[in-house]
């Protein structure tokens, strides 16, 4: 599968001269499977340039996987060109709440006063689907969604194809209430999604000092992201969901700290940036 990062900023799109190296678009990652299927992880503002890059050339079916409904993960959906194309079969997957399905929870974003066009008038008539509790197949991949620690119903995803796995946990605070370095792995939120992954995209919004002031906000420190990656045995850890206040220079500092911490694995640790690609 071919993976490309279109947005890796957390919370709020942050364009400007201080964020050009890592990018200011919010969460969006495209996954092109070997059979040509297109999977899109999250619909932050990064999905808009993805839609533009696809042009009229997009596949007939597109599957978008939303981790949760915080705006930085769905704000771009309304500006994703293919949703305006009536010939597209667009499936939007995401976590249900225990009470309401995904469609009814997402509908307010596609209605006045937040948006001029009603969901029922969107030409592609997107199909909103609650993520199943078991692994399911999309094209040539096996997809798994599991609830993870983050405020409100939130899932992480694992996409597996030909023995390689991409794990995507952009908003995740596994250290909340747990000592990540000692607790049994079956008690670590998100562990099964990340276990033995080829590439793990994981929340690392805060430095340790910032995290200590923001425990329970749903995000991870550099330290916790590295510990999580090590416990899960990820081959390559890619730190994701950069804080909107972090400039490129500060992020270089985060990367240096992450490399220091990961001396004992994961094998590789790096920072997500817009335009980054992986071939798994």
């Amino acid at each position: 599968m071919k993976v490309r990062v279109w947005g890796c900023r957390g919370s709020l799109a942050s364009p400007g001269p201080e964020t050009v190296r890592f990018g200011g678009q919010t969460s969006c990652v495209s996954v092109q499977l070997s059979d040509g299927s297109l999977l899109i992880l999250d619909a932050g503002s990064g999905i808009r340039p993805l839609g533009m890059a696809l042009g009229g050339d997009h596949p007939e079916r597109i599957d978008v996987f939303i981790t949760h409904l915080h705006t930085d993960h769905i704000e771009g959906l309304r500006f994703f060109d293919p949703i305006w194309d009536p010939s597209v079969e667009l499936n939007v997957w995401g976590p249900p709440s225990p009470i309401r399905g995904l469609r009814s929870r997402i509908a307010p974003y596609f209605a006045p006063p937040f948006f001029p066009v009603h969901l029922r008038s969107i030409p592609s008539h997107p199909e909103f689907r609650d993520t199943p509790t078991r692994t399911w197949r999309i094209g040539s991949a096996a997809v798994t969604a599991q609830l993870v620690k983050h405020p409100g119903p939130t899932v992480g995803y694992r996409v597996e194809e030909n023995g390689h796995a991409l794990a995507y946990l952009p908003d995740h605070e596994p250290a909340l209430g747990s000592d990540l370095s000692t607790v049994g792995t079956e008690w670590i939120s998100g562990f099964a999604l990340a276990e033995g992954s080829t590439v793990l995209l994981h929340d690392a919004q805060y430095t340790k000092a910032e995290y200590d002031e923001r425990v329970g906000w749903g995000h991870s420190s550099t330290e916790d992201a590295v510990t999580f990656g090590r416990r899960a045995g990820a081959e390559r850890l890619v730190l994701f969901h950069h804080d909107p206040l972090h400039t490129d220079t500060q992020l270089e500092g985060v990367l240096a700290r992450a490399k220091e911490l990961s001396a004992s694995g994961p094998d590789e640790v790096e920072l997500a940036r817009e335009g980054m690609t992986f071939e798994l």
Partner: protein, 140 residues
């Protein structure tokens, strides 16, 4: 993703995290009714540590502490608050007696409730319990 212990449901993880930080005795069972945790506050009441018991299947923990009513009649699993919470998917409360791992008999009260992630899907249940104050006192 195969492993000896499958990934626990997030709700169960959160329940255990919460229990581990409470000063109230708490007992947590998983979707099969297996005891997966009790907290430090529960240890003096149960007369054992969780490290000593480890996981116990429903049939095991239901007899481990020999629950009886105040007249000394054994209470079967399905009539214990956790049994009711688990089987009927509702909260349940009861007073009864147990014998701790330290062989001390204690009168306790327990309230249990199911952890339902959908109306028809249970991922576990929690019991909160406390020792009843000796007759003639009001406790706190």
């Amino acid at each position: 993703m195969a492993e000896a212990h499958p990934q626990r449901n997030l709700i169960l993880i959160l329940a255990r995290d919460l229990a581990s930080r409470l000063a109230t005795p708490v007992f947590v069972v998983d979707h099969e009714g297996t005891l997966v945790y009790f907290n430090e506050a529960a240890e003096p009441v149960l007369g054992r540590t969780y490290a000593e018991t480890g996981e116990l299947r429903a049939g095991g923990w239901a007899t481990e502490w020999s629950p009886t009513d105040d007249e000394g009649r054994p209470i079967p699993l399905e009539d214990l608050p956790l049994g009711v919470a688990f089987r009927e998917g509702r909260a349940s409360h009861r007073s009864f007696r147990i014998v701790g791992g330290d062989r001390v008999a204690r009168a306790i009260e327990a309230t249990a409730f199911p952890l339902l992630i959908r109306e028809d899907e249970i991922v576990g249940a929690i019991a909160v319990f406390w020792e009843r104050p000796p007759e003639g006192t009001t406790g706190r």
